[in-house]
Symmetry: D2
Subunit: 294 residues, 4 copies
């Protein structure tokens, strides 16, 4: 007889590429999303007995996503995920929650044209919602925003052991791809304005200090976000230190005062941190499966 | 005054591509790893004050990985990660733990040649270790193993609502890329033999049943692993349902009795499940940042 | 005895990631290139006899690329490739030519900051130069510029056979990733201004017409470029027709007047065309190995 | 008035993912292809006037590919491409030729099971056919076969200039991803057996010599293929030199006699060569758009 049981599980339809056009006037608007729906609930017998009476087909989840993009529209990725959660948890009694995620790709008008666009945003915007019974956790974020400072960055004062060969430096390139998620303490806010504001704070803060290490830079970016946006309780960063090494030109009789660099691929530093509102709880389990680290 | 604090954090050097050759005899052996080291401990002031006196440089972590591949060698990815954890937690008093991960790429000899190899393994082998003070969690796994059944798979009996259009079928292609991780209840076992055995069980089980849904297939694969390998307490799968749709040839006067399929990219089903030893605890937080789902 | 001979060949160092900072004043400038150098000439004996007396090491080519980025600087990718060609063909008598290619990634200032940047350009800029003795062919281009029209595009009037099922439409989404290269009839021009101008012409032209097919759209984009830029004799496009299919919502009692689309991955249309100045020669062999089609 | 004309052009449907099952007996067989069809012919007015009367819709090309996979079957990628070419050039009088390409992914049975498979082949098999009126060029090949020698490879005797810093070595790792294409002098041969044989020759030859440079290794692999397979007139290789650098462990008091390497990503050497049957013509234009270099 088997001595096993079903543990944590979820399933759904991933990467539904929803392209939504608003064309009520000649000036069209577009939203371009990649939506993943996964359900939580009682799916025990499908796993253990092969009976599917509680398995809302992933094909049904796909149809629902596209239908809802017409029925409720897409005012923001976050609002759309909330609508999906409401639908699935009310339509099927045994579905007690789930995880819904979206990526959004940003388009801009070509020369302010009414219906011609180009994919302009360097970053991918993200949204994620988990619902477990009565408890929602709602996240926004982005990834793929590559930023770089050509100076005002150093790395000194670190411990040395027998494997340490890195020389200290007070002037280096600091480059990273910012991946970040933040957790809201409410589901009722202006998601569009907040997204824009957080991105601005992060980019502005990146410029305005001497960086003693990427750790410190992440911290003060997060600190600014928490301080300025009361609806956010936690923010996480997962950022590679994209090394730019000065190329040794002395061998060829040339000076290289931080002018010529080779951009390296691997290995890279990987710096990850959470910045939390002082009086808020961290919600580490809420991040699992959503953010890049525990 | 700031109302924020540092929460969960970790940092290190990612994707160190270690290629290790054993050449003590003319018949060389190779191990090809991609190793990531991240440390846990007291790094508070580096974040909040920009002082780096506890920041073991990621460059030092890189050097250490390569040095240890000579000093202790690589008998298995798992043993190598344990050696790295022992080093970092003993060398630096404020480093109380960390997360170490490895991918391994499998090579085979060309025509049984002594020193010529080709990259043969379809799957990427993985290992992961977290250490938090006295508590270790050790995982092995793989991803990228694509399997497919041309029959003996169906999907029926699922609930229907107004968004459900999928017809039931008792004969379809079932295809997936198997990504799996399992958690050991010990760190003392034959990692090489165990890895080989688990992979065999999974592949064998995939073939030997009629699949009522991918959920059921994952469950019985996990059940077999837990039943046969006492050192494993939990196994997780994150598997896409890679849809192969029968192409409508009737429009051209042709029959298509499940002979011609179009392989779709997106969206895809995404089925994720944990199978647990009956008398073991699930360790959900241990999986965070390692496995594909919470 | 062997009845074979060496045919066409070339070799070099690929994907040298040169990051060049100009920091003569507090307002820094950056150029971020990915440079590939391949040499043509007499490398016969290296292939047939294993003697390397004419093989300029790929490592030497790498060093040269980085040294030249200091010695001559990077005023444009095109000018930099010309400098590399001049160097290699004059330094080594048996090197009679070669192919040099560059990608450039576009950065913009964050809030007009002096030394903080983000990677802003949606497209990757490209340059390529072939030199064969006295004959140079110089190309510029870009790829990865994704554009889309939500209306003013149709597809009608095409021939129908027994495999044709596509309904005609006078209103669809037209979306593509523009990949283009153009060939100059001179090596003496303002590469920066010309690149900017060609990109503007292509984007502007994309917006200003009803598209009867992607073929027609490519043609008139090319026509405008040739007409407005006398230094360009030929321009090529290789553009996927990125299908956006209207999702069938009638099944759920919903209308879908081109509002909800599913963006498909594969298959995709692939439309490729050359537009040539009337009195110029096409140089099809010059494109080989550089452009996406013959 | 416009002073431009249409030059070289082609269009079609790319990356049709055809999965074909043969299930006439309980022991099923599968073929898994990615097929691209592009047509050549008189498409002038579609480009210049927006009239599509000669544009065989890319959707029609897609339907045809799937229909033909039933009607004629897939005995080999090459035979399938020939059938497609025959169809399109006979069905539409103005279609005078085209380019058809296929990738094939190799599956093997799990434990010799009748209908359960895993994707086993490390390499992607390729086929390509161009037809221009009466002239066919037919190619087979593969890419993604990664091979490595831990010894029996060196690099010495190369010229040195002021940018040369590479030390000579008589013992290094030689690693590459083999990408190759060969051109047949006939379209009537056993494609399955020939593919298998060429791959064997290439892998066997890789093992059986001391390599003075990757150039020499490519040459003798090609030489063996041409010598042993009379139906092949030309073979091309495009192979990165995947550098494995010995990690400097002396800094830590450790010896490293070619045991510990760091596998580098970029830059990499890129070695490309054609080996031709002595009495055959090279067909350089035939390769354009198919092979990796001119």
């Amino acid at each position: 007889m088997s001595a096993v049981r079903l543990g944590t599980n979820q399933y759904g339809k991933a990467e539904n590429r929803v392209f939504r056009v608003y064309r009520d006037t000649d000036r069209h608007e577009v939203r371009d999303l990649n939506v993943t729906s996964q359900l939580w609930g009682d799916f025990e017998t499908a796993h253990t007995k092969g009976t599917n009476e509680t398995i809302v087909a992933t094909d049904t989840q796909k149809n629902t996503i596209f239908a809802k993009s017409k029925e409720v529209g897409i005012s923001s990725p976050e609002a759309f995920l909330l609508a999906l959660a409401d639908h699935f948890t009310s339509e099927f009694s045994w579905v007690t929650g789930g995880k819904w995620q979206a990526e959004e790709y940003g388009w801009a008008r070509i020369n302010d044209h009414d219906h011609s666009f180009y994919r302009s945003a360097p970053e991918v915007r993200t949204a994620a919602l988990t619902r477990d019974g009565d408890v929602d956790h709602l996240f926004s974020g982005f990834h793929g925003l590559t930023v770089l400072k050509t100076t005002a960055s150093g790395f000194t004062g670190y411990p040395r052991d027998k494997y340490t060969t890195l020389p200290e430096t007070e002037d280096r390139i600091l480059a990273t791809d910012i991946a970040t998620r933040w957790r809201y303490n409410t589901t009722s806010l202006d998601f569009e304005a907040t997204y824009k504001r957080v991105k601005e704070i992060i980019m502005e803060t990146f410029t305005n200090h001497y960086s003693y290490a990427l750790q410190q830079t992440l911290y003060i970016m997060g600190e600014e976000v928490i301080n300025q946006v009361p609806e956010i309780d936690e923010i996480r960063f997962s950022c590679p230190n994209k090394h730019h090494f000065t190329y040794d030109l002395e061998r060829f009789g040339l000076e290289n005062p931080n002018e010529v660099f080779i951009a390296a691929d691997r290995p890279y530093g990987l710096i990850e941190a959470t910045i939390v509102r002082e009086d808020a709880q961290e919600a580490p389990t809420a991040w699992a499966g959503i953010a890049e680290f525990c």
